[in-house]
Amino acid sequence: MTARVGVVLFPGSNCEHDVVEAVEALGAEAEIVWHGAGALPDVDAVVLPGGFAHGDYLRPGAVARFSPVMGAVRDFADGGGPVIGICNGFQVLTEAGLLPGALQKNSGLKFLCTMVNVRVETTNSILTSAAHGGQVLRIPINHFEGNYTCPADTLAELRDQDRVVLRYVDNPNGSTDSIAGVCNEGRNVVGLMPHPERASDALLGSEDGRILLRSLLAHVPALR
């Protein structure tokens, strides 16, 4: 059965077409979902893509969490549906309280667009089930606010519950504990700063992102 992926489009999002292209290349169907929608269409997974939802005004994700579609996304996640937030999508998920912590400005106080190495810290998540534990993936980052932070007790909880999904091999932005991605307790909601869709074609320099997106898609039919 073909997986159907809903890609949420906020005004100011800009990676929606790239996510659609990358998941379609893996055989899935993708549908762009407008942020004003009160309900999700019939989809098996939801991706909140990168960009600058609502201009990132006030703070990244701070306005997007109030977009009507977020209520439906929350219900979908509560029901166990797979949700990933990439870059700005990760910021939206933390603002919406679907994931713990926050993303603050990079420690270098500069926007950073560059290829990085990230290590798969757990394969027990909807985004990493097709990877090997400890596998190092080359995936680009592209953000100003990617410096993950959370209170000490939250960090302890994330570690204890094996919820740090990805870590930077060489921390580029000052993230606490080099965290590049985390998941929720149900392990069906994952946020990450690197862009797997940008590492989906050898012509562009890496195909490692496909391992993550394939995990998401492989997971989906099993849920149906």
Partner: protein, 767 residues
């Protein structure tokens, strides 16, 4: 001041040739002398306005002519020279004069390209100046119906030893990053140069590339009497009033004067622009507009008069209907404001509701501000049916703008400059150290730019030319398995060369840009230019401009590239000192089949190092002479355009057929820097010989390429070069951990890499 419309004082109709007298005009009850001068019009120009109207203009009309006849909008000093550029080719769909040039790349796809300067605003307020430069050029592209898919920036600043230059550099890069990333268009390349001639007057040139289904091509013209003019996007405020005349068409003086100009810089809102792009493309896809035009320099005056004049119609514009950012704005402010992120669409009354619905969905403000009329008059009305505040022939704001053939003569010190041959400078004690001093990795700049969005960037910034897959949302998808096409884009300028010889220097720029495109396998399709020069009222600047255009025209003719658009930036001067003449060119090329990544700037362990072309022993205009010795003189080495055309075609073929594993053109810093960049980017050293002295190492003589090839490919390259009549030599081998030029240079790859990587970040550290 009250700018309400009043009957001007009685004034006799002047016949041509009668000397214009400064006269008193009554405005808002006050008597003021020569208001036109404060607005930037000369006395003769004010007289010409009067002749067109057959009466004295009122204040609003004068303000409209002042912005439209500014150097920035009217090209009045350069137009007569620009006519000499070749602009035609079978694949050119739109040439110069529209918002952007458009070329057909086959399969129902067209590419729109434009380059523009934002030098003056960036000198005054670097972040907003650069940001709004990006915003402006994007609108030029999506106005044509194309989705903007790539930006490139050609930047020039003073030495980073100066605190002000660091402030400008960091501010400009942040502005491009802040706006470009947020608006969702990747910045895929460009160049950055540091030279003291730009210390007070930095150059910020932005190129934008868009792609579209050929069927969506639209031109900015109004048609259909009774159709409506819809202004949409941001509100209209007091920012940027007189930007084109106050800022862009005058040089810089002291710091206090620059401070005073800051309110003429616009403020950008990339989120508004992002929604504007999406709304516009949706309107165009749905066929809801008959014409569309962006608001840039000279704001609403330019957009309304241009669309009307191009369509051969008139327009009534209602000042009251323009959504304003602040209360109390006067009609002249509304009509000349350069507030960013605004567009004007011409729509039929029947489609108005749908247009407003699309805008509403994207949260874009829209209102009807005018009506298309018979007769060619542009009238500004207080409100629909209200008082007429201005009434002028729409086309006169463009077509009747003065054209100046200003006096031109070579600089007095030219012969002296050319005679000052840097060959007479003492040779370096250590060529290796000089080589390290010339290396600078631009990654500090481009890492701040999203250069990957849309999944098209095959060759990222830092190489000879950016390579982009030719695809975008909304384009017809190529069938599976079909060869995928790609675009190659390069921007190049060189003020050092052009200062010595603007004609040949410009031809060398064009040649270099074309060669850069060939190095990634591209065949040049079109060229756009941004002509950055000093004060046109200085005869030597006009001579430089004229010579430069001739050099560009000659190179484009021989190399077979049409010029599809351009921008002229004059008055790049401060305290009476002009910048070096700095034409910047952008060349767009097509790669017919992109099956694999192009070889790129690098070396492969065990490969052989080959040189195509011949080195002329000269250091004239070289980076070495300036940067290491502070010397600017000499006579440029000859450029053989016929040979260059053969070299370019040879190189393109070699890359296409995979006969090189690494490639780099020889330009700034000569063969020494070319080899060193190949080494540091790949981490592979080299050992080459046959380079006799520092002049051979750092010479910037044109038409040369360094290749790294393996095995049988070497012989094939040799045979192909011979057949093409291009000089060929094998100069050494690639491999190991050292950069060795026998008898001249021996440094470690790690040492060179550190020098290269740290050059820019190191210069920015607090002293």
């Amino acid at each position: 001041m009250n700018f309400q419309v009043m009957e001007p004082l009685a004034f006799p109709i002047m016949s041509p040739g009668i000397h214009f007298e400064v006269r008193a005009c009554r405005y808002g009850g006050a008597v003021k002398d020569a208001v036109h001068r404060a607005l930037g019009l000369t006395d003769d120009e004010a007289l010409a306005v009067e002749r067109i109207l057959g009466r004295a203009p009122n204040h609003l009309e004068l303000a409209m002519y002042a912005v439209m006849w500014s150097e920035h909008c009217s090209y009045k000093s350069s137009r007569t020279h620009l006519r000499r550029l070749p602009t035609e080719a079978p694949h050119v769909l739109v040439g110069p004069g529209e918002n952007a040039g458009v070329v057909d790349v086959g399969d129902g796809v067209a590419v729109a390209v434009r380059i523009e300067s934002h030098n003056h605003p960036s000198a005054v307020e670097p972040y907003q100046g650069a940001a709004t430069g990006v915003g402006g050029i994007l609108r030029d592209i999506f106005t044509m119906g194309a989705r903007p898919v790539a930006l490139m920036d050609s930047l020039r600043f003073g030495s980073l030893h100066e605190a002000r230059s660091r402030w400008l550099f960091e501010g400009v890069v942040s502005g491009i990053s802040g706006y470009g990333n947020s608006v969702g268009v990747p910045t895929v390349g460009g160049e950055v140069v540091f030279d003291d001639v730009y210390a007070e007057n930095p150059l910020v040139n932005v190129l934008c590339l868009g792609v579209m289904p050929t069927s969506r091509l639209v031109l900015g013209r109004a048609s259909g009497v009774g159709n409506l003019a819809v202004l949409f996007g941001s509100t209209t405020g007091r920012d940027g009033i007189g930007g084109v005349s106050v800022l862009a068409s005058a040089g810089f003086g002291d710091a206090e004067a620059e401070q005073a100009k800051r309110p003429s810089v616009q403020v950008g809102d990339p989120f508004e622009e992002k929604r504007l792009i999406e709304a516009c493309l949706e309107l165009l896809d749905a066929g809801l507009v008959v014409g569309i035009q962006d608001l840039g320099g000279a704001g609403l005056t330019c957009a309304t008069s241009e669309t009307a004049a191009r369509g051969g119609v008139g327009m009534d514009v209602y000042a009251s209907e323009v959504a304003r950012r602040q209360p109390g704005m006067e009609p002249f402010e509304v009509m000349t404001s350069e507030s960013q992120e605004r567009m004007l669409a011409i729509v039929t009354p029947e489609s108005l509701d749908q247009v407003l619905a699309v805008c509403g969905r994207w949260e874009v403000r829209a209102s009807v501000v005018g009506t298309v009329t018979h007769g060619g008059r542009l009238r500004i009305l207080d409100h629909p049916g209200g008082d007429v505040l201005a009434d002028v022939p729409a086309s006169s704001l463009h077509d009747a703008a003065p054209v100046y053939d200003r006096p031109a003569s070579p600089p007095d010190d030219l012969a002296e400059l050319r005679a000052a041959d840097p060959a007479r400078l003492p040779p370096p004690a250590d060529c290796g150290q000089d080589l390290l001093a010339l290396l600078a990795d631009p990654a500090w700049v481009y890492r701040q730019y999203d250069h990957q969005l849309f999944l098209n960037t095959v060759e990222p910034p830092g190489g000879d030319a950016a390579v982009l897959r030719l695809k975008a949302p909304g384009l017809p998808k190529a069938p599976l398995g079909a060869p995928s096409k790609a675009l190659a884009v390069s921007t190049d300028g060189n003020g050092r060369w052009c200062a010595l010889d603007p004609r040949q220097g410009t031809a060398m720029n064009v040649a270099e840009s074309v060669l850069n495109v060939a190095c990634v396998g591209g065949r040049p399709l079109a060229l756009v230019n941004c002509l950055n020069f000093g004060n046109p009222e200085h005869p030597e600047v006009m001579w430089q401009l004229s010579e430069s255009i001739d050099g560009m025209a000659e190179a484009c003719r021989v190399l077979g590239i049409p010029v599809v658009g351009g921008n002229v930036s004059l008055y790049n001067e401060s305290r009476g000192r002009d910048i070096d003449p700095t034409p910047v060119v952008g060349v767009v090329g097509l790669i017919e089949r992109l099956d694999a990544r192009p070889p790129g700037v690098g070396l492969a362990e065990g490969g052989r190092v080959l040189l195509l072309g011949q080195t002329v022993l000269t250091l004239a205009g070289s980076l070495w002479a300036l940067q290491v010795r502070g010397h600017r003189g000499g006579t440029l080495p000859p450029l053989d355009l016929g040979l260059h055309a053969r070299l370019t075609e040879l190189v393109r073929g070699l890359v296409e057929e995979g006969l090189a594993v690494g490639i780099h053109d020889v330009s700034d810093g000569g063969i020494g820097v070319a080899l060193a960049e190949m080494a540091v980017r790949s981490g592979v050293g080299f050992d080459v010989g046959g380079i006799g002295d520092h002049a051979a190492l750092f010479s910037e003589s044109p038409s040369r390429v360094v290749l790294c090839s393996e095995g049988h490919a070497v012989e094939q390259v040799g045979r192909r070069a011979q057949a093409a009549g291009v000089p060929f030599s094998e100069i050494g081998v690639a491999g190991g951990h050292r950069l060795v030029v026998q008898g001249l240079v021996d440094v470690g790859v790690d040492q060179a890499e550190a020098a290269w990587r740290d050059a820019i970040p190191g210069a920015l550290l607090p002293a």
